[in-house]
């Protein structure tokens, strides 16, 4: 008998004569404590929680963000930025920077990861990605990688910048996954990100920049 059959047989025997328990999921228990009455309130809560975990949050607009981003990167002395040219925000960025004569090198993701792992790990200083939504309750960004914006863009570079449209911030995780109907088609990898990577494994002292980004910047597009 295969391991599978053996395990299943024992589990089924253990349940003999019993019924599956009814589904008594009560959504109010995961939502009613986490309600905010306006976009402004959601933005405020999300900002406060993200800032509490060492994240910089800037409020900007659909038209202005490339310039704001440029200023942020310049003050940090960032030489290059990984971006996804095929995305709407990627193309907006390259156009805006080109016009202004940018001194920051824009790097596109270059082929399958195997071919440029070393560069990604060693030479990329920062990356820009979009997000599909935010969660006010926990101060969280939902990132949905795809072929244009691969999974590691939000993980490997030491500085990660994420765009977040204010209108996509949900009150809580339950609302976000229900309104976007995640269950009907999950991507290969879906990420909830709440701050730069951190650890408290040594004496419970919080240290940022464990394995992933040391810094996270969130640009909230208030008019989007």
């Amino acid at each position: 008998m295969s391991a599978r059959d053996g395990i299943m047989r024992r589990l089924r025997a253990g349940l003999e004569g019993s019924q599956p328990r009814p589904d008594e999921f009560d959504a109010t228990l995961v939502t009613r404590t986490w309600r905010y009455d306006s976009t402004e309130a959601r933005v405020e809560r999300l900002t406060r929680l993200l800032e509490a975990v060492h994240t910089e949050v800037h409020r900007t607009t659909q038209g202005d963000w490339p310039q704001r981003l440029y200023e942020q990167l310049r003050t940090r002395g960032i030489p290059n930025l990984l971006f996804a040219p095929e995305t709407p925000h990627g193309s907006q960025l390259s156009k805006a920077w080109e016009v202004n004569g940018s001194e920051i090198h824009l790097t596109p993701w270059d082929g399958p990861i195997e071919e440029w792992k070393e560069t990604l790990f060693n030479d990329v200083s920062a990356s820009l990605t979009g997000s599909v939504g935010g969660i006010a309750a926990t101060g969280t960004l939902a990132i949905w990688p795809d072929r244009h914006e691969p999974r590691l863009m939000s993980l490997v570079p030491p500085l990660h910048i994420a765009l977040l449209k204010a209108s996509t911030i949900a009150d809580n995780l339950y609302d976000l996954m229900q309104t976007q109907d995640w269950a009907s088609g999950m991507p290969t990898n879906l990420l909830l990100v709440s701050g730069p990577s951190k650890t408290a494994d040594i004496e419970q002292v919080l240290a940022y920049g464990a394995h992933g980004p040391k810094e996270l910047i969130t640009l909230i597009l208030e008019d989007a």
Binding site: I7, E24, V30, F121, L190, T199
Partner: protein
């Protein structure tokens, strides 16, 4: 300061190890400080007691519902994962699970493996298994990495290196990795980061655990702060997840309350930095992510615990560690005293099913039954009740075919049975009982001063001059 004793390496039984741990002032201080901090953080994260209790109740229902249809959910999970391109493997024993993982690594001709935090892989002793076969399996969670460097085992399921303080970690890093001695925690983290990022890049295979496996969508949910889990599951060309068969939940929305309970109970965080939801390997047009994803489902005694409706509740556990953080015994003796992978209250109720009760006969009684563990458990496992049940299993007749736990009956004693039978007889024969009471109260001065082991730490009980029965009778008489 007493020198720290590596408790893991101590032979002997629970009591011997406990005695050593209790004598180690540094160790006790490290645990006390950490547990106080974790308890405080949890309390703050659940500032509304009503919300907390409602959520615990929901968490309990979700886990109980999942277990009430476990085989069907496992079926569904397997189907969905397979449809998503993930390969599912089943293992009855840790040996089988190790063989599966080894075979998968060999198929890649892999030599370097990075591993995200996984308690099931600790159960399997996967690192040692692979090392014996010339495959390096490196822990990438900073705590686990520290513990592995020192050839130790984790002493806490969430905070593996909690038994060490910064100075001890600093000395370890200097000794094993070279460089300057620095007990600045940020520098230590930086050192770990530098070494491990190189390893992520080089690794042939990444191994991880799973926090929740969602049957509805075929999704593996991983919860972490460091990003090492994401690295291990995304950078190497092959990802192998290992988990126990009980980790499945019915649907994605069930994960919502469980996540909140987990991160708040474990660390007092509203959410961890990363919730990593993996539903498949890299698609043809995608440019990163592993080309192969495997899930190994391990039984290792779980289906036997499952067969008993009371003991089944053990499998509700979401491994938050709150029970150990709040355990007065764990805080004093530390994680290594338990001598097994899972320490603390959860270890005491789970380990007997994994390794047999006869290997850990002291586990069920290493508890004052104060009830703190059951009170904080986010999925409401009645831990004290299960400990009492295991105490009963411990003293069953070894040939009793009803035994629900492997290795039951190792503490069966004819003498004890005889004493209890005598006691029962005495209590069911009123005249003789009264005579006995009369004798005990009149001869109370003859009670020996030393009654070991009771009197090792307590004064000997002296019977009262008159029994309660007698006093009541006299009282009633004087009233009438």
């Amino acid at each position: 300061m007493t020198q720290s004793i590596p408790v893991t390496n101590l032979d002997g039984d629970f009591k011997t190890r406990a005695r050593h741990a209790l004598d180690d002032a540094q160790l006790r201080n490290n645990f006390r400080t950490a547990m106080d901090g974790l308890m405080h953080k949890r309390e703050q994260a659940f500032s509304d007691p009503q919300e907390r209790e409602d959520l615990r109740d929901l968490g309990n229902r979700i886990r109980a519902r999942a277990l009430s249809q476990l085989p069907d959910l496992l079926d569904q999970l397997e189907q969905r994962l397979t449809a998503n391109g993930v390969r599912v493997h089943w293992a009855e024993t840790t040996e089988e699970a190790n063989e599966i993982v080894h075979r998968l690594i060999e198929a890649q001709e892999g030599r370097q493996v990075v591993k995200g935090k996984s308690m099931v892989s600790e159960e399997m002793e996967l690192n040692d298994y692979l090392a014996e076969r010339d495959i390096e399996c490196l822990e990438s969670d900073l705590g686990e990495y520290t513990v592995q460097l020192d050839h130790e085992k984790p002493s806490h399921i969430i905070m593996p290196a909690i038994h060490k303080n910064a100075r001890q970690v600093a000395r370890l890093f200097q000794e094993k990795l070279g460089g300057e001695l620095s007990d600045d925690i940020h520098e230590l983290v930086g050192t770990g980061r530098q070494i491990l990022r190189q390893k992520f890049m080089e690794a042939d295979v990444g191994v991880s655990g799973v926090n929740f496996a969602v049957a509805e969508t075929g999704t593996l949910v991983l919860v972490e702060n460091e990003g090492n889990g994401r690295m291990s599951t995304t950078v190497p060309p092959v990802h192998i997840a290992v988990t126990g068969i009980e980790k499945v939940v019915a649907n994605l929305r069930d994960v919502v309350p469980l996540l909140s309970l987990l991160t708040r109970s474990a660390l007092g965080q509203p959410i961890t930095t990363y919730i990593n939801m993996i539903s498949g390997p890299r698609k043809d047009d995608e440019r990163d992510g592993p080309r192969e994803v495997h899930l190994v489902l391990l039984d290792n005694g779980r289906s036997r615990a499952f067969a008993d409706a009371q003991l089944r509740q053990t499998l509700n556990c979401i491994r938050c560690g709150a029970c150990m953080n709040h355990c007065p015994v764990y805080t004093r003796v530390g994680g290594h005293t338990y001598g097994e992978v899972y320490p603390g209250p959860i270890g005491k109720i789970l380990t007997p099913h994994l390794v047999g009760l006869d290997r850990v006969p002291d586990h069920p009684s290493a508890s004052s039954l104060c009830g703190a563990c059951g009170d904080v458990c986010p999925v409401k496992i009645p831990i004290p009740e299960l400990l009492q049940r295991l105490r009963e299993e411990n003293v069953r007749h070894p040939e009793d075919s009803e035994a629900a736990v492997a290795g039951a009956g190792s503490r069966y004693s004819n003498r004890e049975q005889l004493i209890w039978r005598g006691w029962q007889w005495l209590n069911t024969h009123p005249r003789i009982y009264r005579l006995f009471l009369w004798g005990v109260t009149r001869l109370r001065r003859l009670q020996p001063a030393r009654l070991r082991p009771w009197t090792d730490y307590r004064s000997a009980p002296t019977p009262a001059a008159r029994s309660l029965h007698e006093q009541a009778r006299n009282h009633m008489r004087s009233k009438s």
